[in-house]
Structure formats: structure tokens, C-alpha cells
């Protein structure tokens, strides 16, 4: 086969539309794309598993929210858009950073608070950014990234860039009032923004139905159209994001609800097993895993052999291990970094450390 031949594949389940005609279930892809999906998602999966180990080894501190299980959302979205489009998400941000072109070393170094981290070690797990690829974080306050994303979309429109913004949030965040405020304004102003609710069915330990009277998140825009998408099917995600981008450029906001699942607990302190059954988790792993779905497609279409895919997984593993080794080599930030980036323009005023008579600095 030729790697760029067109393959047309049906999505697992049909899209469900709210105030909009859903796109077709037939998605165009190619062998190359499917293989890259497999590789990218495997890399993400491996990165998150490695982060888990590093956390347990106390090399990562504080909060650490892992994305394994949800990889199809980040990868499918990226496949539908360009680096002119912007993305903003919450604290579960490692894989989005990778999808936008960030490196493993930058990711691990940030997680370990090292100088080579994507935020020079100053941001931490929840605060990854990649400005050159228009990735605006990495935001720690539940729901707050949604108005911010609408604001980025405002700027795209103001500057006539023909680009859209994807603002991602969880099922727990979906009840936040500022989301409804931002949506109303975005609808009034026709902002090219796509709200993506990554519905992994739990906000920390709270099942969706305990937090939302109406957990049909794709309908929660009320007067704003929405689409329900199988978020474990990377092709469905790609199709939906493409559709949504076109819609948003022409008509303003739209909501995509991605039905997905996080395998890990909410963060490292949550075993993730008190509020859901082990059967539920293993059921999803067996029946809906986004990587396994692509593996099956690749094998079914004979685009690679099982052992070639295993090789890919081995490569990915090594890549991650190498990146960790490299990140570990990165030094801690210089102590003087305490006082940099407080302001872009510090006017030469003094700033103070804990004991101001011992530690102070003139802000540049």
C-alpha cells in the first residue's frame, strides 16, 4: 500500500447533534496517519506511565494529573487543525503539549522542576505552555481556561487570522458559571471557538450525574450547537474537530462532548478506585482503548504487522527513557530565576525574598 492512499473508515458510533446536523461517520485517513496515530498515542501513554513512576520516586512533586486513556482526544484534535489554531486546556496538560510539538525532554524536565523544562521549571505539571504552537496552557483553576480560550479566539478574529481556538475542559468543569458567561458572549460576538468537554465521567471522585442535573454536555450550550463524539475513537475526534473548526469560522461557537475515560486516578493522591469499580476500568481498557482500536485497524487493513507495532512500542519506550535520562541531567533553575518573569518590565524596582535584608533583587 502507499502510505498516503485514502482509507475511509466508519466511526465506532454515530455522532449525535444538538441543534446541528452531525457530520458523516465516514472518515478519510491514510496508512501514514493511522501509523502516526498509533505512535503518538503510544508515546503519550508511555510518558504518563513514566511520570507515574517518577512521581512515586519523588522526582515529581505536588499535583500530577495523567492523561492515559484520553490520548485520542489530543491526537485526533491535532490531526484536524494547524499550528495557527490555538489550544488551551486544564491541568491535565502533558499530552496536549506533546501533541502541539513539545518535546519529551521539555515535559519531563518541567515535571522535575528543571531548567530545561518547557516553563524553565517554574510552572510545574499543571502549567505547560508552547507559545510558538499557540498552546496557552495548562491552567489550574477548573473552568477558567474556557473564557481565556474564548479570549484567544477573540484575538484570532480581531487580527483576522482565520484561526480557531479549542478550549478543553472536563465534565466537572462543565457546570462552572463562567463557562456559560463566556459562551453567551462568544455566541453574541461569533467568536471562532470550539468548547471541548472531555467527559471522562468523573470530576475527581464525583460521577458526572452527581455533579450535573443534565450530564448531556453537548447540549449544555442550550442555544449553542453541540456534537457528541466518541472520544476514544481518534478518527471520530478528528472528524468532529474538522467539522467544528469549519462551523466555528463560519458561525461562531460550538460544543463537542468527547466521551472518554481516564485510567489513572484524578491525580497522584487518588487511587481512582473508591468511586468506580475495577470492572468498569478494565471494561473500558478492553473494549474502548484508543490505542488498541488503532492497532486493530492497522492490523485489519494490513498496514503493519503485529510485531512491527510492538517494535514501535519499544522505540517509544526507549525514547521516553532517553528523555528522562536527559531531563535528569538538566540542572535546577538558577536561584536568580526566583525574581525573573514577575514582570516583563520591572522598572528596576527592588523585589524581596523571604528575608528582605538578605535576599533582594532589582527587577529588570
Amino acid at each position: 500500500f502507499s502510505s498516503d492512499q485514502t482509507l475511509t473508515i466508519e466511526t465506532s458510533v454515530p455522532f449525535t447533534g444538538h441543534k446541528i446536523e452531525p457530520p458523516s461517520r465516514s472518515v478519510d485517513t491514510s496508512p501514514a496517519e493511522l501509523l502516526s496515530f498509533f505512535r503518538d498515542m503510544s508515546l503519550m501513554r508511555r510518558m504518563e506511565i513514566a511520570a507515574d513512576s517518577l512521581y512515586k520516586a519523588k522526582l515529581i512533586r505536588g499535583f500530577c494529573h495523567l492523561y492515559d486513556g484520553q490520548e485520542a482526544a489530543a491526537v485526533g484534535m491535532e490531526a484536524a487543525i494547524t499550528k495557527k489554531d490555538s489550544i488551551i486546556t486544564a491541568y491535565r496538560d502533558h499530552c496536549t503539549f506533546l501533541a502541539r510539538g513539545g518535546t519529551l525532554v521539555e515535559a519531563f524536565a518541567e515535571l522535575m522542576g528543571r531548567r530545561n523544562g518547557c516553563s524553565d521549571g517554574k510552572g510545574g505539571s499543571m502549567h505547560f505552555y508552547k507559545k510558538d504552537a499557540r498552546f496557552y496552557g495548562g491552567h489550574g483553576i477548573v473552568g477558567a481556561q474556557v473564557p481565556l480560550g474564548c479570549g484567544v479566539a477573540f484575538a484570532h478574529k480581531y487580527l483576522k487570522e482565520g484561526a480557531v481556538t479549542f478550549a478543553l475542559y472536563g465534565d466537572g468543569a462543565a457546570n462552572q458559571g463562567q463557562l456559560f458567561e463566556a459562551l453567551n458572549i462568544s455566541a453574541l460576538w461569533d467568536l471562532p471557538v470550539i468548547l471541548i468537554c472531555e467527559n471522562n465521567h468523573y470530576g475527581m471522585g464525583t460521577a458526572e450525574w452527581r455533579a450535573a442535573k443534565s450530564p448531556a454536555y453537548y447540549k449544555r450550550g442550550d442555544y449553542v450547537p453541540g456534537l457528541k463524539v466518541d472520544g476514544m475513537d481518534v478518527l471520530a475526534v478528528k472528524q468532529a474537530c474538522k467539522f467544528a473548526k469549519e462551523h466555528a469560522l463560519a458561525n461562531g461557537p460550538i460544543i463537542l462532548e468527547m466521551d472518554t475515560y481516564r485510567y489513572h486516578g484524578h491525580s497522584m493522591s487518588d487511587p481512582g478506585s473508591t468511586y468506580r469499580t475495577r470492572d468498569e476500568i478494565s471494561g473500558v481498557r478492553q473494549e474502548r482503548d484508543p490505542i488498541e482500536r488503532v492497532r486493530k485497524l492497522i492490523l485489519a487493513h494490513e498496514l503493519a504487522t503485529a510485531s512491527e507495532l510492538k517494535d514501535t512500542e519499544k522505540e517509544v519506550r526507549k525514547e521516553v527513557d532517553d528523555a528522562i535520562a536527559q531531563a535528569k541531567e538538566s540542572p535546577m533553575p538558577d536561584p536568580s530565576e526566583l525574581f525573573t518573569n514577575v514582570y516583563v518590565k520591572g522598572f528596576g524596582v527592588e523585589s524581596f525574598g523571604a528575608d528582605r535584608k538578605e535576599v533582594k533583587a532589582v527587577l529588570p
Binding site: S86, D120, Y129, P147, G151, E181, T340, N341, V344, V349
Partner: protein, 336 residues
């Protein structure tokens, strides 16, 4: 030539919008209504609805949108109808605006101005009278400016709009209609004041009085009265609450050896406390008398006119405190 503060603010907005197409204005009633206090008068007509945006009454939503637009390089000016309503959006001011340049190690800067009337107006009651100077200036990553005169209003607002960092710009409704003399320099469209620098409004020898916003006028009136009694007061208009101009304050106190701080906000953890601490830290040995603090009363703002008057500093409070600092006061009154 004289200029009203309202006009000073309006002209600053106008000039900076005309100078930089990335500057835009958003807020409740800023457009068609011409601003609840008419600060934005004429701007919609001049710059059109793409750059002057009326928002719904949803501060969290529109402030978040403003901050997001700044992430992508625009220069939003977000008007709060009054700063009391900024509490609805304060998470975006603190967590989304003030901290992002730091968290991203300088990748994402946030050139935005949050502006509107702050503090006590007249007869508007407890929920509409709070001063947010101490709160916002508590937070690194923000710059906090508070103009008094037309010169301040023009120079500081233009500086705020041009600044690459988030600036909280605290106006005062009761000053909007006040006129001040302005020089040709102030009227020039290139005029701009430095952020972080206080202004000595009146030089003096015996006591330093610090104030900001409306209280600068009161401090100047107090200085006038004091001068008749042979006390020469130096009045410092802070202009910038963060960065605080510790150098100017300390230099003045080293000269006068006495300090009265004046503010309309609540006292505890207020601007006066910080100024006192700054002077104790840097010029303790120069202080000849305890620092005197004049502030808003430590109560929510009452509506009744007589109580309201008691709840905010009056000129005579400043005069009395200055005299105490100079050991010229009558004995302390009995406790109520």
C-alpha cells in the same frame, strides 16, 4: 488650561487607541451608553464596534476573554463599572493575568489594563464602596496605579496601556468631575508618567503625608491649614501602589522625621500599614514620632450621610494626626 479627570481619562484612551490598533476596550455600557460614568464617551463612534465592545453583565466571562485576548498579543482595556464588581472576576485578575508570565517563564505575557472607579462614592452603601488598592497591590505580577489629578489620570493611564504587564487602574468616581490645571506637556499625545514613581505634590519640612486618589486633595487641604499654624507638610501623591515608591517615601521621612499615612480603604493590612513598615524597615532611626494612620473606618460603609462622613477620612482628621506627629496636638480624646 484646566482639564477634568473624566476628560483626561477619555483623551488617554482615545490617544492610545489611535496609536496602537491592538488596543481595544470592553466592558458594561462602555459603547452605546457612552460609559456608566461617560469615561468612554465618543469612542464607539470613533473606533467602531470591533474595538469598543459592550459586554453582558458577566464580569468573570468578559474578564477571562480580555485576559485570553492579551495572551494572544492584543492590548485589552477592561472597564469594571466599579471595582466592587471586579470580585466576580478576581480569579482571572490574579490567577490568569498576574501569574501567567511567571508560570510560563516569560512565554505568555499579559498586557492588559483593568480600570474603573474604586472605593467610596457618595451614598452608595456597603456593597458599592470598597477600596481594592491594598488587595491588588498585595499580589506580585500586578501593577496597581491610582491617579489623583488630570495629569495623573492622563499620564498614568497612557503608561498603563503601553505597559506589557497587567495593570489595575483604580479611579475615583468623585474625582471624575474635578478639574485640574494641566500644562502643554501633559496635553501632548506623547505624555506619559513613569510607573512606580510617586509625586511630591507639595514640599515640606516638618511632616510627610502620603495619600493616593481623592485623599491627595484632602492631604493638600490639610497641608494648607497646617501651614497656617506653622507646620510645613510634605504631601506625597503615591500614584503607584505597586510598585510602591519606597525611595521617595523614605527620602521624605528622612527629611521630615514624621509620617502620616492617608487612605480611604479599610485599615487592616492597608496601604498605610505597608508604608509604615517600609519606613520602619529603611528609616527607623529617622522617625521622631509614631507613624499616624488615617484610613477608612473599620466598618462596612454605612448609607446615612452622617455615618458615611464618619466612615471616611476628613481633612480635619489629617490635620489632627499631623499635629500629633509634630507634638502639637491637643490631648487625645477619650475613648468612645
Amino acid at each position: 488650561k484646566e482639564m477634568m479627570v473624566r476628560e483626561a481619562l477619555n483623551s488617554a484612551l482615545d490617544e492610545e487607541m489611535s496609536a496602537d490598533p491592538k488596543v481595544f476596550l470592553m466592558g458594561e455600557e462602555v459603547g452605546e451608553y457612552q460609559g456608566a460614568y461617560k469615561i468612554t464617551k465618543g469612542l464607539l463612534e470613533k473606533y467602531g464596534p470591533d474595538r469598543v465592545l459592550d459586554t453582558p453583565i458577566t464580569e468573570a466571562g468578559f474578564t477571562g476573554i480580555g485576559v485570553g485576548a492579551a495572551y494572544h498579543g492584543l492590548r485589552p482595556i477592561v472597564e469594571f463599572m466599579t471595582f466592587n464588581f471586579s470580585m466576580q472576576a478576581i480569579d482571572h485578575i490574579i490567577n490568569s493575568a498576574a501569574k501567567t508570565n511567571y508560570m510560563s517563564a516569560g512565554q505568555i505575557s499579559v498586557p492588559i489594563v483593568f480600570r474603573g472607579p474604586n472605593g467610596a462614592a457618595a451614598g452608595v452603601g456597603a456593597q458599592h464602596s470598597q477600596c481594592y488598592a491594598a488587595w491588588y497591590a498585595h499580589v506580585p505580577g500586578l501593577k496597581v496605579l491610582s491617579p489623583y489629578s488630570a495629569e495623573d489620570a492622563r499620564g498614568l493611564l497612557k503608561a498603563a496601556i503601553r505597559d506589557p504587564d497587567p495593570v489595575v487602574f483604580l479611579e475615583n468616581e468623585l474625582l471624575y468631575g474635578e478639574s485640574f490645571p494641566v500644562s502643554a506637556e501633559v496635553l501632548d499625545s506623547s505624555f506619559c508618567l513613569p510607573i512606580g514613581k510617586a509625586k511630591i505634590e507639595r514640599e515640606g519640612k516638618h511632616v510627610t503625608i502620603t495619600a493616593f486618589s481623592k485623599m491627595v486633595g484632602y492631604a493638600l487641604k490639610a497641608a494648607e491649614i497646617l501651614s497656617k499654624e506653622g507646620i510645613s507638610a510634605e504631601v506625597i501623591n503615591l500614584r503607584s501602589i505597586r510598585p510602591l515608591d519606597r525611595a521617595t517615601i523614605n527620602a521624605s521621612v528622612r527629611k521630615t522625621n514624621r509620617l502620616v499615612t492617608v487612605e480611604e480603604g479599610f485599615p487592616q493590612h492597608g496601604v498605610g500599614a505597608e508604608i509604615c513598615m517600609s519606613v520602619v524597615e529603611e528609616s527607623f532611626e529617622y522617625l521622631d514620632a509614631p507613624v499616624e494612620r488615617i484610613s477608612g473606618a473599620d466598618v462596612p460603609m454605612p448609607y446615612a450621610a452622617n455615618l458615611e462622613r464618619l466612615a471616611v477620612p476628613q481633612v480635619e482628621d489629617i490635620v489632627r494626626a499631623a499635629k500629633r506627629a509634630c507634638y502639637r496636638s491637643v490631648p487625645m480624646a477619650a475613648t468612645a
